[in-house]
């Protein structure tokens, strides 16, 4: 499959794409989102399109179905669907033509990343599946209903006959994605395009969805085009891999071949950065002796029996609307000076709430948090407003979303200088120098000071966030999913940067993450949380290699590894308690 050349028709080919081009006319220039991309989808095979954000992989999928968002236009290429009754050239059909509408959903179905926003909130799931049956088949009402229940059963939704009449908000994230898949399967499509269908899901749910897609593919013989940024997922499910970079098709090949002998530098980098996270950081290893020495000292933070109970809600007449949730349920942990403690768990496990309770951004219900700063010990729970302000200078926070956590109306200098200015930690004349110094240390240039955050990429923004956290010379940094929003190639860079600071400044980190691989790379110890409780805590290596708790085992075995020769999702551990409460844990933390 070389690009540009005529591809010989394979008898198994279902969809052929030849030198597709899609462009976006921007204010200053034309962006080639998809630039000369060719591939073939084959019956019963999975093609993974992998690339980082902005590589054009989603636009490629949308260009096939001609649903490119404004101001994009498809400027060239051929898309041919091979059906039993002859080939259909999709690229000749109009965007709103009857012909293309007949193909969308019937021959080619698509599932999206965010099932909540792709489902209509005001119609039942059953009604939404029914719609595609009504459009594409001539079954009568009774037959359609039977088919809906059959489909929902097929995607393993419990009690399908009743759940069909429920609304999307009553479904958990994983169930919504299952419902989306049921909808996509409604008309037995030949091609299923899945655009990051598991990115928004927890790893255990992701593993279930991946399983399901694979099973259905074996059963119906669909061709699957699976778009993802996660090399682990690619290794688990792909037959063939197409790597994209900035709209261009970099490399294509069989999955084992790509992982074993990547030809292009970009592919090597992608695989390299995924594999890198499988082992502890080299910096971490070099620091081990120092951490061990520091660990004999008294903990810098001692958390005991911390409870956060969200209030139950009542109506005006006193009727109970929702019972309170114990988001954090009696958690106790120590943070040693100079160490990194990882807190892992899935959405709803209370890990973010725990982090915010330690900062007292949420008011804990009960428990104690002892902080040993310079000199005196402080009980954080009893601090007043002023005391809390001082505490916040020593214990800092790095946020998950580098876009939402930087005020778009302030320059980088103002952002980084904010903690210095508010606490008068530097004389006004020194502030600029301090900021410049901090920027250099996080790998930015001092002349970036006058710029606004929107001029920076996600990774650079996270560096600004780190500079802001470091500005008042803190002792402890709580990093809440600090690398989750970043491309995998940037994750290890940011983590290494944090480790460098740890080595220099004897910082302690609490690293909150759902991603066990970053924990292995970055943390000395790890605590596993499940439904507000700490189920396991120990040395990161030991927990990752020999977990003792059944939940930790299930969590770890669900993580896809970037190694196609050792697929493990199919025979993973399952933690039974996690399944029983499927309906209620839809809300993410």
């Amino acid at each position: 499959m070389n690009r540009g050349h005529v591809i010989p028709i394979d008898p198994d080919a279902v969809l052929t794409v030849r030198s597709m081009k899609t462009e976006f006319a921007l204010r200053t220039h034309t962006l080639k989102a998809v630039d000369d991309v060719s591939f073939t989808l084959k019956r019963g095979k999975t093609l993974c399109i992998v690339g980082e954000s902005g590589s054009g992989k989603s636009v490629t999928a949308r260009s096939i179905l001609r649903i490119v968002p404004e101001p994009g236009t498809i400027t060239g290429g051929e898309v041919i669907l091979h059906r039993e009754d002859g080939d259909v050239a999709l690229h000749t059909l109009g965007d709103r033509s009857k012909e293309i509408r007949a193909i969308r959903g019937a021959d080619i179905a698509m599932i999206f990343q965010e099932p909540m926003s792709s489902l209509s909130p005001v119609h039942t799931i059953g009604f939404q599946i029914d719609e595609s049956l009504r459009l594409h088949t001539d079954l009568d009402k009774k037959a359609r209903r039977a088919r809906i229940v059959e489909l929902l059963e097929r995607v393993e939704i419990p009690d399908a006959a009743r759940t069909a009449d429920r609304y999307p908000f009553e479904y958990s994230g994983g169930m919504r994605q299952r419902a989306m898949i049921a909808m996509a399967l409604a008309c037995n499509p030949k091609v299923l395009i899945a655009d990051e269908p598991t990115t928004a899901l927890d790893v255990t749910t992701q593993a279930e969805i991946l399983d399901l897609i694979q099973e259905l593919q074996d059963e119906y013989g669909m061709a699957v085009m699976f778009i993802t940024h996660d090399m682990g997922v690619v290794a688990e499910i792909a037959d063939e891999v197409a790597v994209m970079y900035r709209g261009q098709h970099v490399e294509t090949g069989g999955v084992e071949e790509i992982f074993a002998n990547p030809h292009e530098d970009y592919t090597k980098m992608l695989i390299g950065s995924a594999v890198r996270l499988e082992e502890p950081s080299p910096i971490k290893i070099a620091m081990q002796a120092k951490v061990a020495a520091l660990a004999t000292r008294q903990p810098v933070l001692e958390v005991r029996d911390l409870v956060k109970q969200f209030k139950s809600k009542h109506t005006m007449l006193g009727k109970l609307v929702s019972t309170g949730v114990r988001a954090v349920d009696g958690v106790g942990l120590d943070l040693l000076p100079g160490e990194t403690l990882g807190i892992v768990g899935e959405s709803g496990s209370g890990k973010t709430t725990l982090g915010r309770c330690i900062m007292r951004m949420h008011e804990p219900t009960s428990g104690s948090i002892l902080y040993r700063g310079q000199g005196a010990d402080t009980e954080v729970m009893s601090l007043d407003k002023k005391g809390l302000r001082d505490f916040h200078a020593d214990v800092r926070m790095i946020f998950q979303d580098p876009y939402a956590s930087l005020n778009p109306r302030m320059t980088v200098e103002q952002l980084v200088a904010e903690p210095l200015r508010n606490r008068k930690l530097a004389a006004p004349t020194e502030i600029r120098d301090r900021v410049a110094d901090l920027l250099v240390r996080v790998g930015l240039k001092p002349d970036h000071m006058e710029r606004y955050p929107h001029a920076f990429s996600g990774g650079q923004r996270q560096r600004i966030g780190i500079a802001r956290a470091l500005a008042p010379n803190p002792k402890v940094i709580i990093a809440d999913e600090a690398t989750s929003a970043l491309d995998v190639s940037l994750r290890s860079q940011i983590l290494d940067l944090l480790l460098e600071f740890q080595r220099e400044l004897d910082l302690s980190f609490i690293f909150i993450s759902h991603d066990i691989s970053t924990v292995r790379y970055f943390c000395d110890r790890v605590a596993v949380m499940y439904r507000g409780e700490l189920v396991e805590i120990g040395n990161a290596r030991e927990v990752c290699d020999n977990p003792t708790h059944a939940y930790t085992k299930a969590l770890l075995s669900a993580v896809p590894r970037p190694d196609p020769t050792r697929r493990r999702i199919a025979n993973r551990h399952r933690y039974v308690a996690a399944e029983t409460n499927n309906m209620s844990n839809g809300a993410s933390a």
Binding site: S53, M361, M397, P419, Y452, Q460, R468
Partner: protein, 386 residues
Amino acid sequence: MTIATDTATPLGPDDVPSIVDAQGAEVASQWKLMWWKFRRHKLAMASGVVVLILYLIAIFAEVLAPSDPNAFSPRYTYAPPQELRMSYVDDAGERQWGLHVNDYRTELDRETFRRTFDLDEEDRIPVGFFVEGEPYKLLGFVPASMKLFGPKEVGAPFYIWGADRLGRDMFSRVIHGARVSLSIGLVGVFLSLFLGVVLGGISGYYGGWIDTAIQRLIEFIRSIPTIPLWMGLAAAIPLTLNPLMVYLIITAIVSLVGWTDLGREVRGRFLSIKDDDYVAAARLDGASEPRIILRHMAPSFLSHIIATVTLAIPSMILAETALSFLGIGLRPPVVSWGVLLQEAQNIRAVVTAPWLMVPGGAVVVAVLAFNFLGDGLRDAADPYSN
């Protein structure tokens, strides 16, 4: 815990900011981005120019208006508009150039006492630029007597938009009316802006029972039928007050009702950003509460407020017009567009002198210009969206 994989912004890899550099976009501040976006909205740009011209007219009304708006002349009651002409044919049959209007030939019907006007082709009144007129004080303190244009002979009949019931020049009156009509909008909007930002801000930032109380108050105010309310309040204004005081009170009345929209807008903005990560970050950075509100939160909705204010001005102008038209707002001798339209209440007057409707046209132009301008500003207010 969703992972935001942002496929929409095609930024390069982490350490290659050069693309952004080359376009010079990286140093563009929020206001600059807004200006770029606003500039693309052609209709709003044009409306901005119209609004500017309207205010210049209001400021320099004395210079622009050829005659005193209150100067009356019983000889010219309901005189129709004269046509401004560039040239005429003189007695010798030669075409002569010169800006002029024709004088009226008046006939009085002895039975109905109604005057009928004809334009006298022979009798020309020369019109010039920068002519001497009646003395006035420019901007209230500079004594002057120069008019931008007018009849070269002081006091000659010059009614290019016709005359009203008392023979006053409509053109001069519309120009002078702009002053009151356009400023009552501004004063009223600033009053309601103050009320709206303070009450809406408190409501959104603190929430809880304060929020509930303020929201119920807003609903109550909005449920009162406005015209009876105005009539009641206007009836309470003592008749002995001078027109200027009445004017201020009317403004206050209009804005007491008008702040509710703005209050809700501000509350919504506060609600939507008070839990944002960057506000939480500011709190952790040790920023005090006033600093969080003024320095961190306010800039992100300031532009929206400006846009809302621009959209609120036309409703203030319309409210003034409506009140004055009903006779419960401003009263003569104050000259405003609403007061002028009072003259057009009488159907018979409108039939015989349709030019009395001209102030209505001025209201339409002003309101449309403000609305388009506000639309453009609102679109530009969020330069980060598409």
